[in-house]
């Protein structure tokens, strides 16, 4: 009986509660959504972070571990608690999903660990939390560029918007509609779509009835492709300026070349469109390693982790050292120059890319630098 109790105790200890790993290596967990409706973006984050950390491993002893945060705050918080219990992380690659970040921020603050994210949700950097560093330009940057391109370059007068019901969608909608109103071109139609919606024709029919001269999208990857495909198939040939999901090669893959004609997207960067040798090298290496093309999220996470690595190489040893270094230094990343605006917004440039209908590689059409004036 005693033996049975002992066995039971040992088994439960082993299986129920993983043993904490004590190591002298620098520990940087990667907590991203690699399942669920944000798996494309989360996988890009994961790949970008891994590439940066692996490249640094020749000179630094870095231990990383990938945990899925799926699409609920609860899972993200659990993954964070797990990471914090398994060592002393100096920084954490944190999920793109804004709702998860909102749940993780207070814990990261208590633990004193900086979160390196590419989430665009504006609220994240408005909470006076000194432990968030966002390496993807927030909606306050990209949505302003989005609106400026629509009003200044396309000279649209009647924009219509389809956006997602998620935190990402609502944040983008808020900034985009505000920027358009400011430009004197208010939306003539707007509708929120749940990520699970597959039939976009009802929304497109209502949109067409509003007689817009441009369609704006702020949707996740698959819904973006579905809207464009169903719009083109139903004879809607209006120009479409989509959110950053459209610049992703995985999104373009879901569409035929002719369906992409007249489609543009805002993004922080488009690594596959760039001609700079360092970016070409990044893209080549990424493709070789992960058998897929990189997008702006992968590049931004890569840049974010490289800024952390630069901090480590500059002598930062603890999580607080890293936080302080990130908060006060400027970093020349592959996508752009990064500098905190005091709230953790590191990226301040936006790019507009457009497809010509002949290939799935978009061309960089317009760059908006220092949109929020951080570098002034």
């Amino acid at each position: 009986m005693i033996k049975l109790t002992k066995l039971l105790t040992i088994f439960t200890m082993i299986v129920l509660f993983p043993i904490s790993a004590e190591t002298k290596e620098t520990y940087i967990p990667i907590l991203v959504p690699i399942t669920g409706f944000l798996s494309l973006e989360g996988t890009a984050q994961r790949n970008g972070a891994i590439q940066a950390l692996d490249e640094a491993s020749s000179s630094l002893k870095i231990k990383y571990e990938v945990s899925d945060t799926s699409t609920s705050p609860e899972i993200a918080v659990t993954a964070l608690q797990r990471a914090l219990s398994r060592g002393k992380p100096v920084a954490i690659a944190a999920p793109i999903f804004g709702t998860q970040m909102l749940a993780m921020l207070p814990i990261a603050k208590r633990a004193g660990v900086p979160l390196i994210t590419v989430s665009g949700t504006a609220k994240l950097t408005e909470l006076d939390n000194p432990f968030i560093f966002r390496f993807f330009p927030g909606d306050a940057v990209v949505k302003v560029a989005h609106a400026r391109y629509v009003t200044e370059v396309l000279r649209a007068k009647r924009p219509a918007l389809l956006y997602q019901t998620t935190a990402y969608g609502q944040s983008g909608y808020s900034h985009l509609s505000k920027a358009l109103r400011k430009a004197g071109v208010p939306l003539v139609f707007e509708e929120a779509l749940a990520p699970s919606v597959k039939d976009m024709l009802p929304a497109l029919t209502k949109l067409r009835a509003a007689k817009p001269d441009v369609i704006l999208l702020h949707l996740h990857s698959t819904p973006t492709a579905l809207v464009i495909r169903q719009a083109r198939n139903s004879g809607i040939e209006l120009p479409i300026v989509a959110g950053s999901a459209m610049h992703q090669p995985s999104t373009a893959k879901l569409l035929k070349n002719h369906q992409l004609r007249g489609v543009c997207a805002e993004t922080a960067a488009s690594p596959i469109s760039e001609t700079h040798p360092e970016l070409i090298q990044f893209t080549t290496e990424y493709k070789k390693r992960f058998q897929t093309l990189p997008d702006a999220f992968a590049l931004a996470q890569y840049d974010g982790m490289n800024m952390v690595i630069t901090a480590l190489r500059s002598g930062a040893k603890t999580a607080m050292d890293i936080r302080n270094w990130l908060a006060t230094n400027t970093f020349n990343g592959l996508a752009m120059k990064y500098k905190s605006d005091g709230k953790g917004n590191m990226g301040h440039d936006a790019t507009i890319v457009c497809y010509d209908g002949k290939t799935k590689t978009p061309k960089i059409t317009k760059k908006y630098l220092n949109v929020d004036g951080t570098f002034n």
Partner: protein, 570 residues
């Protein structure tokens, strides 16, 4: 509390305490996982009541979980009240919402009920996403304060773990108290055969409402705790995924026992963590593990545990008091007066202006060809169906608009053409479940004992109902009807499938019952069984009485002969 139930309660507490003690000696991550297990066990406990016990496939448990999370979280953020105050608000709010939902939804059956509850959950999700000003929209509401107890913040993970599990222990204890014998048997009867339960004096509507609201309250408590342990409440708490998790926990753990909810919650909260090292493939491993569990333990892990480790001691009838209680109430003269009863199904008239009287000490036989209205009449008298016209008067009171369970409580009992086939009750439990609610538990045990001593089932008290032979099942039907202390006993084809010897035994028993003062109405097609036992015979055709009187008179009636007995007998 019976010894069986005391033992079950202790087993459940042990199942809870072992992992809890282990978790208290681990790191904050291990404690957090156990905290989440406790929270989901509370939600699953509610689902155990509504789904496991009552068999109602509610898909609103995730919705109640989310409502609890939102209501407690929003109050906490905007008014800065203590957790217990917010929890109380969440419980009251969710209970009220569930009450409003219950009124239309509980009238629905099976998949209609499931779809309606699913629809409600989807509406709640849409409100959470789109009512941005109040709920924070898709971002949700953040900045929910940490758990506190009377103003003292529970800052350490072990404090939170203990707090959550103390609440779980309270809820498990409450569940055991609600489901104490013989109410648990009544609920099982209600789940398996609602019509039998209704005609045995069990108020189906009250039980369904109680369980639905209790499940909502448990869900709300779990949701409130989740919101306070995460610090954020978002639409994710209202998504279908939460409902699926709670359902899976209840089923995998074992839906028929409170311990199953706890085991399921612990397992399904930990399982993804164990497979976390598999990165993107962990969900495949998780799904495979769940599939294997269902195949190996179709009645859940606790069901397997119960089957191989815990032997059900059953009820030792011999150990019960030997006092010979009367199986039926002392019956003064009773009469049931039926006047002008009519019932139409579409264009078919099942009963036409039917008049009939049943009195004490009398056995009346009801015969007629198929479709003549015999079963309809019994269904209307017992309250399972409503008449279109006419009155039913029992001892001077009109009962035609009274609910079935109330008619049972006033002394009308019945059996069914198809015998009870419950997989979860044994003979003793089935009879005890039907015993009159108006007596205390000791009296009900004595009464059950007395009924069994006068029955052939005395040696089969621990046999599961589903395992009985046809004759024994018929006998059990009669015992269950007698447990309600009837004044009027309606027997629907009691001799169907019985041998001559068994029919003889039944005849003798029916005569004894009539001699004790019970008025008995028998519908049966076996004339060899019916004619010797009845005092009066009524022949129905197309809903009307064709012939009535002593058997010899009816047998001589040309109309009855032609309609029912055929020309060969004339």
């Amino acid at each position: 509390m019976s010894s069986l139930y005391s033992r079950d309660f202790i087993v459940t507490l042990i199942i809870m305490l072992i992992p809890l003690c282990l978790a208290l000696n681990t790191d904050s991550y291990g404690q957090r996982i156990m905290t989440l297990s406790g929270i989901y066990a509370i939600a699953a406990m509610g689902y155990h009541l509504i789904f496991g016990r009552l068999g109602a496939l509610s898909l609103a448990q995730g919705c109640f979980f989310g409502l609890g999370a939102y209501s407690a979280g929003l109050i906490g953020v905007h008014f800065g009240l203590s957790f217990l105050t917010c929890l109380l608000f969440a419980v009251i709010f969710t209970a009220l919402v569930s009450l409003i939902i219950a009124l239309p939804v509980l009238r629905l059956e099976s998949h209609y009920f499931a779809l309606a509850t699913l629809g409600i959950a989807q509406v709640a999700l849409l409100i959470a996403i789109n009512w941005t000003e109040v709920t924070g929209g898709a971002n949700g509401t953040y900045g929910i304060p940490q758990l506190d107890l009377f103003g003292v913040e529970l800052s350490s993970s072990s404090d939170v773990l203990i707090f959550v599990w103390v609440i779980l222990v309270i809820i498990v204890s409450l569940t055991f108290w609600i489901m104490r014998a013989p109410f648990n048997y009544q609920v099982t009867l209600l789940k398996d055969t609602p019509e039998v339960a209704a005609s045995s004096g069990i108020d189906i509507g009250r039980w369904r409402l109680t369980f639905f609201i209790m499940s909502a309250i448990f869900g709300a408590i779990a949701g409130a705790l989740q919101a306070y342990t995460i610090g954020v409440v978002s639409p994710a708490t209202l998504e279908f995924q939460v409902m699926v998790s709670i359902l899976a926990m209840t089923v995998i753990g074992g839906k028929n026992h409170p311990a199953g909810a706890v085991i399921g919650a612990i397992l399904l909260t930990h399982l993804p963590e164990w497979f976390r090292f598999l990165e993107t493939h962990y969900l495949i491993a998780y799904g495979a593990a769940l599939l294997c569990t269902i195949i190996v333990a179709p009645s859940g892990i606790f069901g397997l545990f119960e089957k191989f480790i815990i032997r059900n001691p059953g009820y030792d009838v011999k150990s019960l008091p030997s006092k010979e209680n009367k199986a039926v109430s002392d019956t003064n003269s009773t009469s049931l007066e039926i006047q002008g009863l009519s019932k139409t199904y579409g264009g078919i008239k099942a009963l036409k202006n039917l008049n009939m009287t049943l009195t004490s000490y009398q056995i009346v036989g009801l015969v007629g060809p198929n479709g003549s209205g015999k079963s309809t009449l019994i269904n209307i008298i017992s309250g399972l169906q409503r008449q279109d016209e006419g009155t039913i008067e029992l001892d001077g009171s009109f009962i035609e608009n009274t609910a079935s369970y109330k008619r049972s409580n006033r002394g009308i009992a019945r059996t069914y053409q198809t015998s009870l086939r419950s997989s979860d009750l044994n003979v003793y439990q089935a009879i005890l479940a039907c015993s009159s609610n108006q007596h205390n538990l000791k009296h009900r045990h004595n009464q059950t004992h007395a009924i069994l001593r006068n029955s052939r089932l005395i040696s089969k008290t621990e046999s599961m109902v589903g395992d009985l032979s046809t004759a024994d099942a018929r006998e059990l039907d009669l015992c269950m009807a007698l447990a309600t202390e009837p004044k009027i006993l309606l027997l629907d084809e009691p001799a169907a499938g019985l041998s001559s010897a068994e029919q003889q035994f039944l005849s003798t028993k029916i005569r004894h019952l009539a001699q004790s003062g019970i008025s008995i109405l028998i519908v049966d097609h076996s004339m060899d069984f019916l004619l010797p036992v009845v005092d009066r015979l009524i022949c129905l055709d197309q809903g009307s009485v064709v012939a009535e009187g002593v058997p010899a008179k009816v047998l001589a009636d040309p109309k009855a002969l032609k309609l029912y007995f055929g020309n060969a007998r004339s």
